[in-house]
């Protein structure tokens, strides 16, 4: 079937377009990038609907070596859905931040920016689709390098120091992940996920290698948690997301951290075995860190005066939600975590992109006072920001509400963690409401002084991106049933 080739095509297409873009100028590189992301959307959709229709996943052999050796790609419902949503959000982020990209980046280096976008897309797709652990490591590193490139391409103010902090934390995470993989390879003798899982199952059944398996689980979890910015390892997040160009912030916060979480889930399900992970109590650690992140991220966000850093700190809280869902250790908790992953990708990208529209009409200032009344000066960006903020707070009809509902209902199934989860959700929702609604009220407050730049027409592309983001949020909020069903089915296919 042609469709079965699509995951491989989309990865390779994105990667080669990056190589091609190095000899093109900025505008051409942009067109290539947009074309590649567009075709990735179509191909991911095809993979998703094909797997949904057939009700099964498939593996795709790379090269000529069969299963225990060789390299494989695996696609199922969840992989297709994630790839589809990620590429849609990537397209909208690139379109929404387009004008700023061309303003922030030196004209001779615009093509480099789009190379990074292409590489980012390719590595995210590879992290989603790969069935091989070492390939995952290599693409984790490509992802890190592309992310670092996206941060430092601005070449102004804090971007270099933000990039070095990002690199240092990422390298700590990658190092731990690599040693975890190496240990796992030594214990199981396999790098492909499916044979490795069989060996892990026989090892667990024989009761051997208990301590090494625990170390492997801990090291891989902590490594990927550092890279996705779970609470105690979050110090790089505000710097990184707060000082990059808008597209880069949206992609880094919306997609990159989710790519690592998706990989972690995949390793839990497809290599270590979800029941072993739950039995090892590592989930409880992730649960507690997640809870701490939910509260502390929001507290930091409340204390922040710079609104862009505030949005970045809110990411810490939302990553906490996702890890809390994983930490519940139930099937429904995992579904809630995956759904919140999608919610947060769509919403946070919307917030970063629409915030840019608001800064434009406030003299590029990012504090609360300058933003007063900005919602009137750029109405579409104001509406976009309001929708995103309400979604994060958990307003009904928007996707954030559904994720909170899923978290709460799944908490009821795990008696020991029920109270903690519900209290955490309640406190975090109140804190979210405090800082997001404060900003929304500021946006629609009466401006004390005359607007710095006055009214400004936002461009057609920017407006279109905001509208699509809002529609995506409404879609996830109103039509959540099919999405949740697809996630459940996809998670079942993981086994």
């Amino acid at each position: 079937m042609l469709v079965q080739n699509f995951p491989f095509f989309s990865i390779v297409l994105a990667m080669f377009s990056g190589i091609l873009s190095s000899v093109l100028n900025g505008k051409q590189a942009r067109n290539v990038s947009l074309g590649v992301i567009g075709s990735t959307i179509i191909m991911s959709a095809a993979v998703f609907f094909w797997c949904l229709g057939n009700g099964e996943s498939y593996t795709y052999m790379m090269g000529h070596f069969p299963a225990p050796w060789g390299n494989e790609i695996r696609a199922g419902v969840l992989e297709g859905l994630t790839a589809l949503l990620f590429s849609v959000i990537m397209l909208l982020s690139v379109l929404g931040g387009m004008r700023h990209t061309f303003e922030d980046v030196e004209p001779s280096k615009v093509n480099l920016f789009f190379i990074m976008i292409d590489l980012m897309l390719s590595s995210l797709l590879a992290l989603i689709y790969t069935n091989d652990l070492f390939t995952a490591y290599v693409f984790v590193e490509i992802n890190t390098i592309a992310g670092c490139g996206l941060i430092m391409i601005r070449q102004k103010g804090r971007s270099f120091s933000a990039a070095i902090r990002y690199m240092i934390m990422s390298q700590l995470g990658s190092g731990l992940f690599l040693i975890g993989l190496t240990l796992l390879y030594d214990v199981t003798g396999h790098l492909l996920m499916s044979p490795a899982k069989e060996t892990v199952a026989s090892i667990e059944a024989a009761g051997r290698y208990e301590i090494p398996m625990l170390v492997i689980l801990a090291v891989i979890s902590v490594g990927l948690a550092i890279k996705s910015g779970l609470y105690p390892f979050h110090s790089w997040i505000p710097y990184t997301y707060g000082y990059a160009t808008p597209t880069a912030s949206a992609i880094l916060s919306g997609l990159v951290s989710k790519g690592y979480i998706f990989l972690l889930m995949k390793i839990f399900y497809r290599v270590l075995g979800q029941e072993n992970v739950i039995a090892s109590r590592m989930v409880n650690v992730l649960f507690l860190f997640g809870l701490a992140g939910m509260i502390m991220g929001s507290v930091h966000a409340i204390l922040e005066e710079d609104t862009r850093r505030m949005i970045a700190y809110s990411s810490v809280a939302q990553i906490g939600y996702i890890y809390m869902g994983i930490g519940l250790g139930t099937e429904s908790g995992m579904v809630a975590a995956v759904f919140h992953m999608f919610t947060h990708s769509a919403t946070k990208a919307l917030l970063f992109i629409s915030a840019v529209g608001l800064y434009e009409v406030s003299g590029e200032k990012k504090d609360f006072r300058s933003l007063r009344g900005a919602g009137y000066r750029n109405r579409l960006a104001g509406v976009g920001f309001t929708v995103g903020a309400l979604s994060m707070v958990g307003f009904p009809m928007l996707s954030g509400f559904i994720s909170k509902l899923l978290f709460a209902t799944s908490a009821l199934q795990s008696p020991h963690k029920m109270m903690l989860t519900l209290i955490g959700l309640a406190v975090s929702t109140v804190l979210n409401a405090i800082y997001f609604l404060r900003l929304v009220i500021t946006l629609y407050g009466r401006a004390e002084q005359v607007a710095v730049k006055g009214k400004q027409r936002c461009s057609f592309v920017f407006g279109g991106a905001i509208v699509c983001f809002i529609l995506l949020n409404l879609f996830l909020g109103l039509m959540s049933q099919p999405v949740v069903r697809a996630i459940t089915e996809g998670l079942e296919m993981f086994d």
């Binding site: 050796w69 070492f134 490591y137 290599v138 590193e141 890190t144 390098i145 670092c148 430092m152 103010g157 804090r158 270099f160 120091s161 990039a163 070095i164 690199m167 240092i168 390298q171 700590l172 990658s174 190092g175 731990l176 690599l178 040693i179 190496t182 390879y185 030594d186 790098l191």
Partner: protein
């Protein structure tokens, strides 16, 4: 316990080196030392892989004298992983060094704390 450590001396050393590299990358303030720490950490993993992949008495998996029996050779995959890993760590090292040069040009310091203080000052003014 101690005899196990001695028996697996390469793995023990690799783990100690990994710890040293990790702490250097995490705690040192000097950027160059941080990068050195990162390299030590990566190299430790390669040592571990190479040590685990080596089987005493077997040959490198290159057919030279017509022996086609697989049991005469060791597994080539760990060596392949080491090679891939080296490529990855070279590129991240190059990127970090390039970043360090740019930071040094701008702030005339390799001390990350100093740099961050200067960044804060720049922003305040």
């Amino acid at each position: 316990m101690a005899s196990h450590l001695l028996y697996n001396i390469e793995e023990t050393v690799a783990m100690i080196l990994f710890g040293i590299g990790f702490t250097m990358l995490l705690l040192h303030r000097n950027l160059i030392r941080k990068i050195m720490g990162m390299n030590i950490m990566d190299t430790a993993v390669y040592l571990f892989l190479a040590a685990k992949g080596y089987i005493k008495g077997r040959m490198v998996p290159i057919v030279t004298d017509g022996i086609l029996d697989a049991s005469a050779y060791m597994n080539p995959v760990p060596s392949g992983l080491v090679l891939t890993g080296i490529v990855v760590s070279v590129s991240t090292t190059a990127l970090m060094l390039a970043l360090t040069i740019r930071l040094y040009e701008r702030y005339h310091s390799l001390d990350l704390d100093q740099i961050l203080i200067q960044v804060k000052k720049e922003e305040g003014s």
